[in-house]
């Protein structure tokens, strides 16, 4: 094997979406036979870059060159990049659960003899490939009977069956437990020794530190840094600095907090993943929020922030495995969303379109949807009250619409979010959980939402602000908890916190 020769060089890659420059002159050079880590915040452009590489975005829709094994490649689709030996293992697994391992591995690549599938040959080869990834199971087993870790290995085996030379792993361990993660990392080193180059996208700096030979940091669609490292001796702080390295501009309104008593207290909250048995998405989470306080929750995608909040909100997510909630000093059992609402909790979900709104409804019907009892008189809904409530919020939150009877889909993202906030303000909660309240909203609308959050805090409500944007948390929250892999890893007054300190707690487990 030749040393120091590049298997892949992506040069000056620029990819634009309508209105957004997702990648701007990104360079990536990967040496043959190494493990190359790519780091960056959510939305930095890592996944877009990999989609350019694998042909999901075909040649011509981006600028720049992909030089692979010394040749400029012009992939039109995934099939072409695959036949060149590039394979991606996605975050979400893409196998068919009802089919066997063999069938999945040879899907679209079946070995045909006399017009029929040669099952004996397929099985023999599957068996061999499975051995390479350290799996010794019957190739006839259905995918759905495998654990997530094993499925991931089969996915890699599938890539190996196609003679892969460059393997891209997108957040490979995000759904795995610790033992499976370690197993996977060992496999990567094993593959490297067999001459297969790996690109690994990960938030887990300890994993990057353990296996990678080179690191590239991407931020806001630019390559920030790219350098060789020695596996096991990686400066994690340096990576963090490069990942965040952005200053807080004056994007947040001024606010003087007026903080009262603790009104929401969670102790030792534990939640199990409903899909993966034995995987805890929240481990002994304990925190508290005071009246009039804005408490931030910092964590990267998949850290368990949303899962924690949804399970607190009437056990809407996961399997409850212990822990207690105290509201205003009194212990409560919130076993349904309805009881959570009755006890003064409100949850604004991060996924507005799929969880926050019924897109078929009008603004008027949405505003009252979470507390219909309030407008019910003698068993009937009072439509005039409903209209009054909707008009009130339209005026106070400045929802831009000509008519509250208009459908919510006629609104912009920012105004839709205001409608969702109205819906929850209408329930007059004491504790508001806002999960990524400004995602996908333009800057102007963000400012208005920030002002609204301040106003809610000033009204004496406890506000929990979940966000993956660190500047937002530092600009808005009075106190910040960091969360990583379902565990609360730190608690900081926001006056003492900075992005590096937070990111460190959001990523590291190695020390």
């Amino acid at each position: 094997m030749e040393n120091n020769s590049f298997i892949l060089q992506m040069q000056g890659i620029t990819k634009e979406f309508p209105g957004v420059k997702a990648l701007d002159d990104v360079n990536l050079s990967v040496k043959e036979g190494t493990i190359h880590a790519i780091c960056g915040e959510n939305g930095a452009g890592k996944s877009t870059l990999m989609k350019v590489l694998s042909g999901v975005y075909p040649y011509g829709t981006y600028d720049g060159d992909i030089v692979y094994m010394g040749q400029v490649m012009k992939f039109k689709n995934i099939k072409e990049s695959e036949s060149a030996g590039i394979a991606i293992i996605h975050q979400e697994l893409t196998m068919i659960p009802e089919l066997s391992i063999t069938e999945n591995i040879f899907m679209g690549n079946e070995i045909i003899k006399k017009g029929m599938i040669d099952w004996a040959e397929e099985k023999r080869r599957t068996y061999e490939i499975l051995k390479k990834v350290g799996l010794s199971i019957n190739p006839d087993v259905l995918i759905k009977h495998l654990g997530v870790g094993q499925q991931q290995l089969v996915e890699i085996a599938k890539a190996l069956s196609k003679n892969v030379k460059l393997l891209i792993l997108d957040e490979p361990t995000s759904a795995l437990n610790e033992a499976d993660s370690e197993n996977l990392l060992n496999l990567m080193i094993d593959l490297k020794n067999k001459g297969i180059t790996c690109i690994m996208i990960s938030h887990k700096l300890n994993e990057i530190a353990a296996v990678s030979d080179a690191v590239t940091v991407i931020r806001d669609g630019h390559t920030v840094e790219s350098y060789d490292v020695e596996a096991g001796k990686v400066d994690e702080d340096k990576i963090i600095k490069a990942m965040v390295g952005r200053s807080i501009e004056n994007r947040y309104p001024e606010h003087e907090p007026n903080i009262g008593e603790v009104i929401f207290e969670v102790k030792n909250w534990c939640v199990e993943d409903p899909d993966v048995e034995g995987r805890m998405v929240c481990k002994n989470a304990s925190f508290n929020v005071r009246a009039g306080e804005i408490v931030g929750f910092a964590g990267l995608m998949g850290a368990g922030r949303t899962e924690l909040m949804r399970s607190l909100f009437g056990r809407n997510y996961g399997i409850y495995r212990g822990g207690s909630i105290k509201i205003k000093g009194r212990e409560v059992k919130l076993t349904s969303v309805e009881s959570a609402i009755k006890n003064g909790l409100a949850y604004v979900p991060e996924d507005r379109k799929n969880l926050g709104l019924n897109l078929l409804d009008s603004i008027r019907k949405t505003v009252v949807a979470a507390d219909l009892d309030k407008i019910t008189k003698h068993g009937l809904l009072d439509i005039n009250d409903e209209k009054k409530a909707a008009e009130e919020y339209r005026n106070s939150l400045k929802i831009k619409t000509s008519n509250v009877d208009a459908g919510v889909t006629t609104l912009s993202g920012g105004n839709q979010q205001k409608v969702v906030l109205s819906k929850w303000m209408f329930t007059e909660p004491d504790i508001l959980i806002l999960d990524e309240p400004t995602r996908g909203i333009d800057v102007g609308a963000k400012y208005e939402i920030y002002k609204l959050i301040h106003q809610l805090a000033d009204d004496g409500k406890a506000v929990i602000l979940v966000s993956s944007e660190l500047p937002e948390l530092l600009g808005m929250a009075d106190r910040i908890y960091t969360i990583f892999e379902g565990t609360i890893t730190g608690e900081l007054e926001s006056s003492e916190a900075n992005q590096e300190g937070l990111m460190k707690r959001m990523t590291i487990t190695s020390n």
């Binding site: 959570a340 979900p349 019924n358 949807a369 019910t376 068993g379 009937l380 439509i383 008519n403 509250v404």
Partner: protein
């Protein structure tokens, strides 16, 4: 166009089927030489279709939650048969038999609701099973023989309202009273709405539009009152029609003005969002299925009353007519969309088609084919309109090109 909108409201699309219904009635009336719009024909049309329309009321809610109920015909037949057998074999009063039939409807609904809500088995499968179970049950308990029904039930299934009061009105006075009540209710509702229409930030409806609206509706109700009331002496607006009317009002209020109704639309529109807003999704599924089978048993009772006997084939393929009515009324297959009133219009379109084709002497075979095409055309037209964002037939005829808000 602007004036039309002020009278009928912003969303003219909802009137597409009303216009189609009116056109069908007029066309059939002309072709059949005036035999469509006669008292006896309309009395027959209503009492002969009331049971399917009652099923359609429940089916609308089932379809709005994103499910389907294939068992309603079998449940209706089963409930009717049990009622007839109980009355015949155990010598109980007729109303006890009726209550037993209704209880059977509720139990059947609880059975379907359990599998759908608790076990998460899709309604299509659950009720396909129910369809076979209850159809088989009817044949089993009846030994494939028709069973005579209590006499008193005939009044519910095909009866007329009493004659009373002076004769100078020239029509059945019960029907007249009904018509007057209808007009008064409409006027009161419109005036109340007018009074509140300026509240908040909304613009007040012009008074003339309200008056035109009231005048149009008064004419319409008045005409049908006369049509139903002026028939042969002893006939009136049929009793099953009255039952249908009352149920329609009740279910219109349930779906539009109660918490449960909102939950039905919320679950059908976005199940996950509904759950996060405090809606008990399982309970909503369960109650909707119970309600459907309850209505099925009522439909079965009315049908048995009308035909004076419960037969082993009663209710066969009623589910299809009910489902067709709901979709012609503009409900969405994916759930979350549809109204009781539009469903009734959809059901009446089917009923008028049946009736008109029969008057023209078209055989049942061809009627079936035509109904199939009408269903497809109605839904295709609706889907096409929604995709292209164009307005309804009315909108085009009157040259409007603005898309309605919803």
């Amino acid at each position: 166009m602007k004036y039309l909108k002020q009278v009928l409201g912003q969303d003219l699309r909802q009137y597409t089927m009303v216009v189609a219904l009116a056109a069908l009635i007029i066309i059939f009336n002309i072709i059949s030489g005036g035999r469509m719009l006669t008292s006896s024909n309309f009395q027959n049309l209503i009492s002969g279709n009331a049971y399917v329309l009652i099923l359609a009321l429940g089916m609308l809610m089932v379809i709005v939650i994103g499910q389907i109920d294939l068992s309603v015909g079998s449940v209706a037949g089963f409930a009717g048969m049990v009622m007839a057998l109980v009355a015949k074999n155990y010598n109980v009063p007729w109303w006890v038999a009726v209550l037993i039939a209704i209880a059977i409807g509720i139990l059947a609904g609880a059975w379907h609701g359990f599998f759908l809500a608790q076990l998460g088995i899709p309604g299509f499968i659950t009720t396909l099973g129910g369809m076979m179970i209850f159809r088989g049950g009817v044949i089993w308990i009846s030994h494939s023989i028709s069973v005579p029904a209590p006499e008193q039930l005939k009044w519910f299934g095909a009866g007329y309202l009493p004659e009373w009061g002076p004769a100078f009105t020239g029509m059945n006075n019960s029907t007249l009273l009904l018509g007057i009540i209808g007009i008064v209710c409409y006027v009161v509702a419109q005036l109340r709405k007018y009074k509140h229409s300026g509240d908040g930030n909304g613009t007040k409806d012009p008074l003339w539009a309200v008056i035109v609206r009231i005048a149009l509706m008064t004419l319409l109700i008045g005409y049908f009152t006369w049509l139903f009331g002026s028939g042969r002496v002893g006939t009136s607006f049929p009793v099953p029609g009255l039952i249908l009317l009352l149920l329609t009002i009740v279910y219109h209020i349930i779906t539009q003005r109660t918490k449960f109704g909102r939950h039905v639309y919320a679950v059908g529109g976005n199940k996950a969002a509904a759950a996060l807003s405090g809606v008990n999704v399982k309970k909503t599924y369960f109650l909707t299925m119970v309600n459907m089978s309850l209505l099925a048993s009522i439909a079965g009772i009315l049908f048995v009353g009308r035909s004076t006997a419960a037969g082993p084939a009663d209710g066969t393929s009623w589910e299809m007519d009910a489902i067709a009515s709901v979709f012609i009324g503009g409900a969405a297959v994916s759930g979350g969309v549809g109204t009781i009133l539009a469903t009734i219009v959809g059901g009446l379109v089917m009923a008028v088609l049946n009736n008109g084709l029969m008057l023209m002497g078209v055989g049942a075979d061809k009627t079936q084919v035509i109904k199939g095409f009408v269903l497809l055309a109605a839904v295709a037209f609706d889907v096409y309109n929604k995709k292209s964002g164009k307005s309804s037939i009315i909108g085009r005829v009157f040259g409007g090109n603005k898309k309605a808000a919803n």
